[in-house]
C-alpha cells in the first residue's frame, strides 16, 4: 500500500473512532454542560453542534500551527494551555459575531451557552489531547490528523446532543415520576445512552 492510502485510511479511522467509538460526551464525559443545557429542542441542539464543529475544527488547526511552529521552536510548550484558551475564546467570539449577523434566531436560542463554548472542556480537551497524540510526536501530517481528530470529536458531540434532544422532545409528553422530572430523567437518559454507546467499543482495536 502506498503511503497516501495509509494516511487516508488513518484519517477515516480517526473520524470513526472519535465520533462514535470513543464519543466525547458519552464515553469521555467532556462537554456535559451544553449537552444538558441546549438539548431541549433538536433545532437548537443541531445549531449548537454546528457551532461546536466550527470552533473545534478551527481551534485544532490554529492550536496545531501555533504549537508546531511557535511553541516548539521557542521551547515554550508549557504555555500551551493559556495560549489555547486565548485562541478558543477568540474563535468563540468570532462564531458569536457571525451568528448574530446571519442567524439571529439561533443566536438568541443558544443564549448563554454560546459564549460558554469557551469554557467547554471538550474544546480545550481536544486541543490538549492533540498535543500528546500528534503534535508532540514526529508523525507525518500531524496537524491534518489533529484537525480530523477535532472534527470527529465535534461530530460525535453533535450526534450525542441531537439524539438526546430528540429523546427529550418525546419525553416532554411522557408521564415522568415527580422525583425524576426535569434534569433527573435527562441524566438517567444520558447514562443509558452512554451504556448503549459502550456497544461500539472494540469496533476499532
Amino acid at each position: 500500500m502506498s503511503g497516501e492510502m495509509n494516511i487516508f485510511a488513518e484519517l477515516m479511522l480517526i473520524l470513526v473512532s472519535t465520533s462514535v467509538v470513543s464519543n466525547v460526551v458519552l464515553s469521555q464525559f467532556l462537554g456535559l454542560c451544553p449537552f444538558f443545557g441546549v438539548s431541549k429542542k433538536v433545532e437548537t441542539a443541531l445549531g449548537m453542534g454546528v457551532a461546536i464543529i466550527f470552533v473545534i475544527t478551527l481551534a485544532s488547526i490554529v492550536t496545531g500551527v501555533i504549537y508546531k511552529f511557535v511553541l516548539i521552536p521557542t521551547g515554550f510548550t508549557y504555555l500551551q494551555t493559556i495560549i489555547f484558551i486565548l485562541v478558543i475564546a477568540a474563535l468563540v467570539q468570532f462564531v458569536e459575531m457571525v451568528l448574530k449577523k446571519h442567524i439571529p434566531s439561533l443566536y438568541r436560542s443558544l443564549g448563554v451557552y454560546l459564549p460558554l463554548i469557551t469554557t467547554n472542556c471538550a474544546v480545550l480537551g481536544v486541543a490538549l489531547t492533540n498535543v500528546t497524540n500528534y503534535y508532540d510526536t514526529d508523525a507525518p501530517f500531524s496537524i491534518l490528523k489533529g484537525t480530523f481528530y477535532g472534527f470527529g470529536t465535534a461530530v460525535g458531540f453533535m450526534i450525542a446532543i441531537v439524539i438526546l434532544a430528540s429523546i427529550r422532545e418525546k419525553m416532554e409528553k411522557n408521564d415522568v415520576p415527580r422525583a425524576f422530572k426535569g434534569t433527573g430523567i435527562v441524566v438517567v437518559t444520558a447514562g443509558l445512552m452512554a451504556i448503549a454507546f459502550c456497544g461500539f467499543s472494540g469496533v476499532i482495536k
Binding site: I66, F76, I83, L86, A90, F94, M97, V98, K101, P104
Partner: protein, 264 residues
C-alpha cells in the same frame, strides 16, 4: 529565568495582540446595526409582556416600532401616555387614540338567569363550555361565571360579581387577554367613554330568551325605534350600539323593557 518570564509575556502578548486585531477586524466586518431607538422604546413600554399588541412580548413590539412596522400607539396597556413617549423617541406625532376597555356582554346574574342543573365539576369556563349542555347556565350564550377571564387578567381588572364577570373599567388596560380566554366570546372592547352598552349576547328569538333569562334581549326593537341618533340596531336578535354615533342620551337604556342596555 528572567529570559523565560519575559519571553512568556512577549509570546502570550503577541498572540493576544494578533487575536485582538483579528477580532476587531471581524467585528467591523460582521457589524449588526442595532437601532438604539429600539432599546429606548423598550424602556418606555410597560414590560409585562401581555401580548395585547399582537407581538411576542414588549421586545417584539419595540423592534417592530423601531423598524416602523407598528404604529407608536400599538401598546394597548400603556395607552396615550406611553404612545406620546414613544412618539417622542421616534420623532413622529402620536395622534390621539381613544382609550378602550373590555366589556362583558352579559348581565344575567345568579337571580336573573336560570340554571339547567346543579353543576359540581371543574371550575373553569373552557372546561365547563365543553360539558354536555354547555354548562349549568340555561342560556347557551351567557357568562358561565367560572372566571377564566379573571385568571387571564394580569391587571386585576375583571372579577366575578354575582355569577357573572364584570370589568373594572378604571383598571382595564384593554390588553385583550380576557377576550381570548372567554370560550363564549362575550367580551369585546368598547370606548372608555361609552355611556351605554348592551349586556346580552343571546341570538335566540324573544320567547326562547325569556324562558332562560329574566334580563335577556328579546329583540323588541324599542331601543332602535326610540334612539334619536340612529345608533342602536337589532342585529341577529340582539341590540347593537354603534358607539361612534351614540350621543349618550340614555333613551335606549330607559326604554329597554328587560334592562339589557345598561348605563355605565
Amino acid at each position: 529565568m528572567a529570559y523565560g518570564i519575559i519571553m512568556s509575556i512577549v509570546l502570550v502578548g503577541a498572540v493576544g495582540c494578533i487575536i485582538g486585531f483579528f477580532l476587531s477586524f471581524a467585528s467591523e466586518k460582521f457589524k449588526v446595526k442595532v437601532d438604539e431607538r429600539e432599546e429606548a422604546v423598550l424602556s418606555v413600554l410597560p414590560g409585562n409582556n401581555c401580548g395585547g399588541c399582537g407581538y411576542p412580548g414588549c421586545s417584539g413590539l419595540a423592534e417592530a416600532i423601531a423598524k416602523g412596522n407598528a404604529p407608536v400607539g400599538q401598546c394597548p396597556v400603556g395607552g396615550p401616555p406611553v404612545a406620546s413617549k414613544i412618539a417622542k423617541i421616534m420623532g413622529v406625532d402620536a395622534g390621539s387614540s381613544e382609550r378602550m376597555v373590555a366589556f362583558v356582554k352579559c348581565v344575567g346574574t345568579c337571580e336573573k338567569a336560570k340554571d339547567k342543573y346543579e353543576y359540581s365539576g371543574a371550575k373553569d369556563c373552557s372546561v365547563v363550555a365543553l360539558v354536555p349542555g354547555g354548562g349549568p347556565k340555561a342560556c347557551s350564550y351567557g357568562c358561565l361565571g367560572f372566571g377564566s377571564c379573571v385568571s387571564a387578567c394580569t391587571f386585576d381588572a375583571i372579577h366575578i360579581v354575582n355569577g357573572i364577570s364584570v370589568v373594572d373599567k378604571e383598571a382595564c388596560k384593554a390588553c385583550g387577554a380576557c377576550i381570548k380566554a372567554c370560550p363564549r366570546h362575550l367580551i369585546e372592547l368598547i370606548p372608555y367613554s361609552a355611556s351605554e352598552a348592551v349586556g346580552c349576547s343571546n341570538k335566540d328569538k324573544g320567547k326562547d330568551v325569556m324562558a332562560v333569562c329574566d334580563t335577556g334581549c328579546i329583540a323588541c326593537h324599542l331601543c332602535e325605534k326610540n334612539c334619536p341618533s340612529d345608533a342602536v340596531h337589532v342585529v341577529d336578535n340582539v341590540a347593537y350600539i354603534d358607539q361612534s354615533k351614540c350621543t349618550g342620551c340614555g333613551t335606549c337604556a330607559e326604554k329597554c323593557p328587560k334592562k339589557v342596555i345598561i348605563r355605565r
